[in-house]
Structure formats: structure tokens, C-alpha cells
């Protein structure tokens, strides 16, 4: 993604206003170029290639709206803001038809100008990010921090891109180490909430007695030891995305509370008396089969339906062996960039060994093996002997975890319904 300043062409005949606009755009982080006539603007549109056009409707040698229409015919992606001293409704309608992003009345209010500019800049930044990510996906088998050229992962990427455009809750399932949190982060980064917080919380890593106050926050004095007010993860994520991992580790009482928060979109801190409005997208994950979890009373069925509006299954590494080389190369580059020990290559036979392994610990296990091989390697190439020494003796022997997570069935069986 490029963070280049937004190139802004200002067309305003009043010299002092033009200079004021130029200074303001510069201060807002844009790259301004200002002209005073329609003719100068026509030339500048070609040479300067702006991302945003701020144009006064009344120009000494022409009509700002005609200039805008011609510019957008050439460049439909050009954002435009119209400035006028007249509050005529006809002008406003005409400007909207010409595709302006906003309409500012003179006298200009700097705060209004800044809000309009930043809104357009933020949208442009997100569009650029999405474009970059799409290109990465097509060219390098990469989507955000996720890697994979295998058919299985291309399917995941496709679902992920589609669901990222919405605000739907996503339940991500897949075995431990398969990259559920990375998938959640990628959804966030591709969504309209990308500029807002992404907060990840592992329900299995915090003592059950603490989860409630960690998630929902608490008021001072609400329990012994609560010596000051604490904002919970939900509030921290407001405007953005909250990722709840190991959702089935949450107690039944807390699941009811979570369900209420999701239904009412409000939250009350522990010991609090006021309901706070929330705008949080919830992504959740589990390495269990959620339907088994429902049967075992580990997950409330009503909550499951709330969370599982869009199910996303991340396959285990053994089902995407085509990605091993890509992942191994990526981890090696990543580790070398940090450690700088000069280990830069894989012996093809070492990669063959990686491909033959079953990977019960999935991508996380692969990363650890790469890191260990990196540490043990003395030259610039990781060889087969080093890798063989790191992989368990059971190479080739099928490893079956006690409870494999499989793609969840669409609905619970009748027996699972309460």
C-alpha cells in the first residue's frame, strides 16, 4: 500500500481563498496545486494528475461544474468537492449529478473542509489497500498476512475477501495453528473498519472469573480489587473489530451476556448502571467442531447462530501441502530479516522433507521448525540433514489429534437442538 499524499487540485479565482485552501490542504497532509482559472485547471488536470479536485463553481473564464464534468469523463475515479458562494439547490443537484463527493458553501469553515478532505483521503487509503491486497493475492499467493497458492487456500481467500466487505459476524474454525487469528486480522484489514482498532482476545487464556471484566470492563469498586474504572476489550474495539478466540471456553453465563451485547448492540460495564452504545464487528474462532461443542453444552446454540452468520474454515496444513514451499520461503525471509545470520536458502531435499511431514501443529509448527533450522544452520542454506533432525521420528506416520476440527456442518443435527 502506498501512503502517498493525496494530490489535490484547487481551482479558485479569489487569490486569498486559494492560498488559504492551499495551506490548509498542505496541513491536512495533502499535496496541493492551486490555479485561478478554468483554462489553467484544464492544463493542471493533465500535468498534475490529481486524486481530488476542489473547484469553485463560478470561475472568471468558465463554469466549475462544466470543468468537473469534463474532468470526470476522462478520469471517472477523480474525487471532487465543489465550492460555491450560492446556496442554490439547483447548483447542489447539478453538482451531485456530476459526481461530487461533497459540496461546500462559502464562507468556508475550516473544520468542515478538513472533515471532507480526511473522509475522502481515508476512503482512498482503504481503496488502495484493497487494490494492493488483491494484487498480492493474484501475483504472489498472498492475502494480507495469509499465504497460499493451493486450491484450498484460494477458496479461503475468495470467501474472506467477500465477507470482509460486509459487517457480518464470522465464525472461523480450523485446527490449532492453522492461522485463524491471521485470517481474522486479514478480514479486518480488508474491511471498512481497517483504520479502526483490531482487538484480539483469547477466551481460553484468561481465568473464567476475569473474562467478564476483561471483555466488558468494570466500574470502580464493582468487586474487590477494582480500584479504578477499566475499559473492556469490547469498548477498546469500538468502531473496529473484536476477535474472540476459543469462544467455547467461555462460561454459559458469559455466553448469555455476550449474546445480549450482540443483540442489543449495547454494553454495561461490570458494576455499571449505564448502557453504552457499541459499534463492533465480532469475529470469533474455535478449534473444535462447533456442533460437537453445542452437543457437549460448551457452546449455546443461540449464540452459535449469532456468531456463525458466515462460517470460514481454515484447512490444516496437511491438506495444503502445495503451500509448504511458499510458507517455508516466507518464514525464512521473515526470520532472516530480523536475525540477519545470512541463512537465505532451502536445499530442495530439505523442502521435500517438509512436504512429507504431517504437521499436526499446522502453520505454527512449520514456522517453529523453520526458526529452529535457521538457528542450527551454519552456512547460507538449510539442508536436509538439519531438517531431518528436527522432524519427529514418526515422519510419514499419520498423526491424529484427539479431536480433529473438521469443517462444521451447516446446521446442528436434530439431537443437538435443545
Amino acid at each position: 500500500m502506498t501512503d502517498a499524499a493525496m494530490k489535490t487540485l484547487i481551482v479558485e479565482d479569489d487569490t486569498a481563498t486559494r492560498r488559504g485552501l492551499e495551506e490548509s490542504i498542505k496541513d491536512f497532509g495533502g499535496e496541493p496545486h492551486a490555479v485561478g482559472t478554468a483554462k489553467q485547471a484544464e492544463a493542471a488536470l493533465k500535468q498534475f494528475q490529481p486524486h481530488l479536485l476542489i473547484v469553485d463553481i463560478s470561475l472568471p473564464d468558465g463554469d466549475g461544474l462544466a470543468l468537473l464534468r469534463a474532468a470526470r469523463e476522462e478520469r471517472p475515479d477523480l474525487d471532487a468537492v465543489v465550492i460555491t458562494g450560492s446556496s442554490s439547490i439547483d447548483h447542489a443537484i447539478e453538482a451531485l449529478r456530476a459526481g461530487v463527493a461533497d459540496y461546500l458553501l462559502k464562507p468556508l469553515r475550516p473544520a468542515q473542509l478538513e472533515a471532507v478532505f480526511q473522509r475522502i483521503a481515508e476512503r482512498r487509503r482503504l481503496e488502495l489497500e484493497v487494490d494492493t491486497l488483491r494484487t498480492e493475492l493474484q501475483e504472489t499467493g498472498r492475502l494480507g498476512d495469509m499465504l497460499g497458492r493451493s486450491k484450498a487456500m484460494q477458496g479461503v481467500f475468495d470467501s474472506l475477501r467477500k465477507v470482509a466487505r460486509t459487517d457480518a459476524p464470522v465464525l472461523i474454525t480450523g485446527p490449532s495453528g492453522s492461522g485463524k487469528e491471521v485470517a481474522a486480522l486479514t478480514i479486518h484489514r480488508l474491511s471498512r473498519r481497517a483504520g479502526k482498532p483490531f482487538v484480539a482476545f483469547n477466551c481460553g487464556a484468561v481465568s473464567p472469573t476475569l473474562i467478564e471484566s476483561e471483555l466488558f470492563g468494570h466500574e470502580r469498586g464493582s468487586f474487590t480489587g477494582a480500584d479504578k474504572r477499566r475499559v473492556g476489550y469490547f469498548e477498546e474495539a469500538n468502531g473496529g473489530t473484536l476477535f474472540l478466540d476459543e469462544i467455547t471456553e467461555m462460561s454459559a453465563e458469559l455466553q448469555i451476556r455476550l449474546l445480549r451485547v450482540l443483540e442489543e448492540r449495547t454494553l454495561r460495564r461490570v458494576g455499571g448502571t449505564q448502557d453504552l452504545r457499541l459499534d463492533v464487528r465480532l469475529l470469533s474462532a474455535t478449534n473444535r467442531d462447533p456442533l460437537d461443542a453445542i452437543r457437549e453444552s460448551k457452546l449455546r446454540e443461540d449464540l452459535y447462530y449469532r456468531l456463525n452468520v458466515f462460517p470460514l474454515w481454515i484447512p490444516p496444513l496437511k491438506e495444503r501441502l502445495d503451500d509448504i514451499e511458499l510458507l517455508a520461503e516466507h518464514f525464512l525471509r521473515e526470520i532472516e530479516a530480523k536475525e540477519k545470520a545470512g541463512v537465505q536458502r532451502w536445499d530442495p531435499k530439505a523442502v521435500d522433507l517438509l512436504r512429507a511431514h504431517v504437521w499436526p501443529g499446522n502453520v505454527r509448527e512449520l514456522r517453529n521448525i523453520v526458526h529452529r533450522a535457521y538457528i542450527l544452520t551454519e552456512g547460507s542454506t538449510i539442508d536436509a540433514r538439519t531438517v531431518r533432525g528436527l522432524l519427529p521420528d514418526s515422519l510419514g506416520e499419520e498423526y491424529e489429534p484427539k479431536k480433529k476440527a473438521r469443517p462444521p456442518r451447516r446446521t446442528p443435527s436434530r439431537a443437538a437442538r435443545r
Binding site: A16, T17, G20, L108, L113
Partner: protein, 83 residues
């Protein structure tokens, strides 16, 4: 008589529109340059140039206001005579 009154009212409305339109330009410049001056001050930079421009534009607004007021009063005189 009514047609004459209408046309006087139209003229007066046109004058008022033009007056407001003209006044909006220096007021825009004043607010933009004052805001720039504030940002410069906050960043520890010299705001003199922006303040000087704001002052000049405020003077221009006053002049436009004075001449607009004089013109509007003049425009309204024949209407008084017709009552």
C-alpha cells in the same frame, strides 16, 4: 405599479445576493488563514504571514460590507418614495 414594485424588489434581491456572494470570499479567506495561523502556532511555527493575510481580508470584508450597505440603502430609497 405592481410590476414596478416587483422589479424593484427583484433588483434589491439581486443586490443582496451579489453582496452576500462577494462577502463570502474574504470571509472564507479570513477563516482559512486564521485556522492556518493557529496550526502554525501549535506547531511552533511563525504565524505572521497567515495573520497578516487574515487581517487584509478582514479589511476587504469590511469595505465590501460598507459599500454593500450604502448600495442597499440607496436601492431602497425609491421604494420609500412610492409609499
Amino acid at each position: 405599479m405592481t410590476a414596478q414594485n416587483d422589479s424593484a424588489e427583484d433588483r434589491q434581491e439581486m443586490s443582496l445576493r451579489r453582496f452576500l456572494h462577494d462577502l463570502a470570499a474574504p470571509l472564507s479567506a479570513v477563516s482559512l488563514h486564521l485556522e492556518t495561523a493557529v496550526r502554525r502556532l501549535q506547531k511552533g511555527n511563525d504565524p505572521t504571514e497567515s495573520l497578516a493575510t487574515a487581517q487584509r481580508e478582514l479589511e476587504r470584508a469590511f469595505q465590501l460590507f460598507e459599500s454593500g450597505r450604502t448600495k442597499l440603502m440607496k436601492d431602497s430609497e425609491p421604494a420609500k418614495g412610492q409609499r
